[in-house]
């Protein structure tokens, strides 16, 4: 069986969400990174938000963001209720693990991508 979370901390400090995994690994996700990886159909279709302000105007959607709560979905996923009102993304544990931003996992991903 693939690793599953044992503990999920919605407010792990510094605008991050942390997951302790059954294999001992720990993942720390910045909120905006995780929100950007929302797997729901609507987000998949969304146009990318430009990184830079256009003509000096503030970009909508760059308000502070945090998860208001989260529920387990069966025994395979997490549903996060974001403060921007969005909650339709069901983050499968395998998806969350694949998104782990730690240097080790990132390096492994880069190796996998390079060999593709």
């Amino acid at each position: 069986m693939p690793p599953t979370p044992t503990k999920i901390k919605l407010a792990a400090g510094n605008n991050t969400l942390a997951i302790h995994w059954s294999d001992g690994h720990e993942s720390v996700y910045p909120y905006r990174y995780l929100r950007g990886k929302c797997p729901c159909a609507t987000c998949g279709e969304e146009a990318p938000v430009p990184e830079q302000a256009i003509g000096g105007l503030p970009i909508l959607g760059q308000k502070p963001l945090h998860p208001e709560r989260a529920d387990l979905v069966g025994r395979y996923a997490l549903q996060i209720y974001w403060s921007d009102g969005h909650s339709s993304g069901i983050y499968a544990f395998t998806h969350l693990r694949a998104l782990c931003p730690c240097p080790e996992c990132t390096a492994l991903r880069e190796v996998a991508e390079a060999s593709d």
């Binding site: 069986m1 693939p2 599953t4 979370p5 044992t6 503990k7 999920i8 901390k9 919605l10 059954s22 989260a70 529920d71 387990l72 979905v73 069966g74 025994r75 395979y76 996923a77 069901i90 544990f93």
Partner: protein, 354 residues
Amino acid sequence: MSSQVSPQDVVNALRVVKDPNVGRDIVTLGYVKELEVGDSRVSFALQLTAPAGPARDQLVAQARAAVSALGVANVQVQVVEQAPARTAGHSLIPQVRHTIAIASGKGGVGKSTVAANLAVALNRAGAKVGLMDTDVYGPSVPVLMGGTGVPSVVEGRIEPPEEYGIKIMSMAFFLPKDEAVIWRGPMLHKTIQQFLGDVRWGELDYLLMDMPPGTGDIQLSLSQSIPLTGAVIVSTPQDLALSVASKAIAMFQKLNVPILGVVENMSYHVCRQCGHREEIFGHGGAREAAKKLNYAFLGEIPLDMSIREQSDSGKPVALDDSTIYGKAFQEVAEALVSQIVVADSKTGDEISIE
């Protein structure tokens, strides 16, 4: 002495220990938890539902002796009294200890018959059992269970009728006999949620869920709404059924639902006239498939007219375990309970969100 015992051996050994209050064995009653089997070391917890008094020490001693008899040097038994159910706080059915989906992929392999008979067999072994018919389009549980009872409303929630001591719920209760359900997904989802949350299941050891064929809305709704203990795959032995069954298995794997084992239904037919054994769909295909995929094989049920007749007349064959058919279901139920204990020991603690 190095012990080569498997978790399965331990579970089988523990079957001889009976709770004197109930007169049934502690494995079927779901007392055995957190089983860990190491090199010449076995540890497990006994989860006792009621304050057991003097019976408690006797149970612990008997359980310890049963495992020691396997040649295990170090046996550790921990007693947990009235531990909360495994399911998380937001669960729709907090008083149900195990939820088991009976699924197949392909239709017509006898899921409902197997589900009804397993429910009866588990109940006869002393467990509190519920049977939920999640096949909204083609509900069959009330007929199989002799459905004379009807649900009532108590305190704004649905009180399920009991047949042979088993609480049952089905869409058939809410429809005129020849009416059809013509619904899209969201309605099905709502029904499943209601069958879980708005039905007074009460305290149950096992809630069996008879699934419709396929890998669609209902399967997904159920797997998302509650953390299922596991799934039992029913298949007939021929290649076609097995290849569809493997799709159901793939779905449960994706949703992280443990596969508790495979049951081969319509395994063979023995002619009543001459006693010749005819393997109509081939035989042993499900056993081989289970072995190849490394899942437990829970047993085989023969194809026989008496099973069909008794099913149609609402008297599940498992009610009488003096027949080979009743006995076959009893054995599948026992194998299933063993697998539930093993699965429980593998799934870790509840996931905490803070």
